[in-house]
Symmetry: C2
Subunit: 292 residues, 2 copies
C-alpha cells in the first residue's frame, strides 16, 4: 500500500491518516469542509493536495447515513481501487449501498472500535487503534484484492482484524455498546428529579454507570437510528428482566412483612431468586475479556 485517501476528516479519519503517514503511506485528505481539511493537514493527518486517481484504498470516515452516497460519488470519480468505511453500524448502510448500484467487489465494510474519548481533545492520534479490534465485513462479492487492502490498512493502524457479517456486527454492537449507552442516558435522566441532598450521596458507582450519557447527542442519534431494530430488541429483553427483578423485590417485601400460612408460593423463596439474579450478573461480567 503506497497511497490512501481519507474521505471525511473527523477524529477517526484524521487518526487513520496520521497512522498511515507514520507507516510511509502517502495520504490524501478529502472533506466537503475545506477548513476541516486544512486543520487535518496541520495536525499531520495527510495532505490537502488532490490525490492521484486511483489511490490504493479510500477510507470513507463519514457518518453511517452518508456512506452510500459518498461511496457512489467517489466510485463514479474513480477515486480508489478499493473502498472501506468506518461506520459503527453496518446493515443499513449496506442496504443503501446495494440500492444505489455501487460496485460491491471493491468494497469491504469496516468498523474500528476505539475507546470512547468523551473528554479528550479531538486531536489525530495514530495510537487510537493500537491493539483494538477493527471489524471487517466482506460479502460473497468482495474481491480478494479489496479484502487484502483492508487487512493491510488494519495492520498498518496496529489494530486486530475481526471478520463478521453485517447483521452479527449490528446485534453485537447493540448488546455491548448501543444499549448500555442508552441505559446510561435513562439512568442519568432519572437523576433530574432527585433533590440536591440526594445527589450528595451519589458515589462512584452511579458516576461510572452514567458516564456514557455525556456523549455527543447528534452522533448518538445517528448511531441509534441506524441500528434501531437490534437495539430495540435488547431494550425489550432488558425491560422484561427489570420487571422480573421488581416482581422478585415486591415478593421479598411481602415475604419480609410476614409469610402467610397458605399464601406462600411453592419452591424458590424470593431471597434465593434475588441471590441467583446477582450470581448471573457476576457470570456475565466474568465473560468480558480482561484488560481494555
Amino acid at each position: 500500500m503506497r497511497t490512501a485517501a481519507i474521505v471525511g476528516t473527523g477524529r477517526i479519519g484524521r487518526s487513520i491518516g496520521t497512522a498511515l503517514r507514520a507507516r510511509g503511506v502517502a495520504t490524501y485528505l478529502l472533506d466537503i469542509d475545506a477548513e476541516a481539511v486544512r486543520v487535518a493537514q496541520e495536525l499531520g493527518a495527510g495532505t490537502a493536495q488532490p490525490p492521484p486517481r486511483p489511490v490504493d484504498i479510500a477510507v470513507l470516515a463519514v457518518p453511517p447515513e452518508q456512506v452510500a452516497r459518498v461511496l457512489a460519488v467517489q466510485q463514479k470519480q474513480g477515486l480508489a481501487r478499493c473502498y472501506t468505511d468506518t461506520a459503527g453500524v453496518k446493515v443499513r448502510p449496506q442496504r443503501q449501498i446495494e440500492a444505489s448500484g455501487c460496485d460491491l467487489t471493491s468494497l469491504v465494510g469496516g468498523h474500528p472500535l476505539v475507546t470512547d474519548d468523551h473528554d479528550g481533545p479531538p486531536a489525530a492520534r495514530a495510537e487510537l487503534f493500537e491493539g483494538r479490534p477493527w471489524v471487517l465485513t466482506p460479502t460473497g462479492l468482495t474481491s480478494d484484492a479489496a479484502l487484502n487492502a483492508s487487512l493491510e490498512l488494519v495492520s498498518l493502524c496496529g489494530a486486530v482484524p475481526v471478520l463478521a457479517d453485517h447483521a452479527a456486527h449490528d446485534r453485537t454492537m447493540a448488546l455491548v455498546s448501543h444499549t448500555p449507552r442508552l441505559i446510561a442516558t435513562l439512568l442519568a435522566s432519572r437523576l433530574r428529579h432527585a433533590d440536591n441532598a440526594t445527589l450528595r450521596l451519589a458515589g462512584q458507582g452511579v458516576r461510572d454507570m452514567t458516564r456514557a450519557a455525556g456523549g455527543n447527542p447528534a452522533l448518538w442519534t445517528d448511531i441509534l437510528t441506524a441500528n434501531a431494530q437490534p437495539v430495540a430488541e435488547v431494550l425489550d429483553a432488558l425491560a422484561a428482566d427489570i420487571s422480573s427483578a421488581a416482581t422478585i423485590l415486591r415478593r421479598r417485601a411481602d415475604h419480609a412483612s410476614g409469610p402467610s400460612e397458605d399464601g406462600e408460593v411453592a419452591g424458590e423463596r424470593p431471597g434465593e431468586a434475588l441471590a441467583r439474579l446477582l450470581e448471573l450478573g457476576i457470570k456475565g461480567r466474568n465473560r468480558l475479556p480482561s484488560g481494555t
Copy 2:
C-alpha cells in the same frame, strides 16, 4: 468522646475503630466471632478487652437485618450512653427497632457512604470516610446528647454529616445506588448469551457499566431485600422509560424505511424524540456534583 464500642468488626467497623483510635478515643471491639475481634485488634482497630460500661457511644456495624436484635441486647446490657448503626438501609431496621421496644432516645441511625471497594483489600482504613457523606437519621425522640455524640463520631472520622429522615434516605439510595447496582447486574447477565467474537468488541463503556455487578451477592441480597419497595419503584419507572425508548427506536426504524403518506404520527419526528431523550440524560448527568 473518650470511649467507644464497635459491635461488628467487618470492614466498616474496623475502619471506624481505626479512625477513632487515631483521634485518641479508647475503642473496644465486640463481635460474635472471637477470631474476627482478634484480627481487628491486630489491624489496630481497637482492643479486644471488655469495655467499661457504659461507653460514650456504641457503633453497631452489623448487617441491616441484625441492627434491631443487636441494639436490644446491648441496651439491655447497658453497653453505651448512645447508639448509632451503619446500615445502608434505614426504614426497615427502624421499624424492627420500634417493634422490639428499644430505647429510642439514645439512638441515631447512621450510614457512612464509602466508596465501593470491590477489589481492594479488606483492611481497616481510617481514611475510608475522609470527606465522604455520612447520613444521620435522628427522630423526634432522639436526645440532643445522642445526636451530638453521633455528630462527634462523624467529625472524628473526617466525614461530612448529612441529616435526613429514614424514608428520604432509602428513596435516595434506591435512586443513586441500589437500582444502578441492580441494572449493572441485569446488563451483565445479558452478556452471558453473547458469543466470544461479540465479547471481543466490548469496550470501556460496558466495562464501566457492569463493574458494580462484581459486588458480594450475599451483602447485596441483604441490602436489596431491606430496601425492596423503593428499589422496585425506581425499577418500574426505568422499565417504562426503556419501553418508551424501544418504541421511539421502532418508529424510527419504520420511518427510515420510508414514511407512509397518511401513517405518519403528527408532531415530533422519531429522530427528534431520540435526540431529546439523549439531551435529558446529559442534564441528569450534569446534576451529579463534581469530584468523588
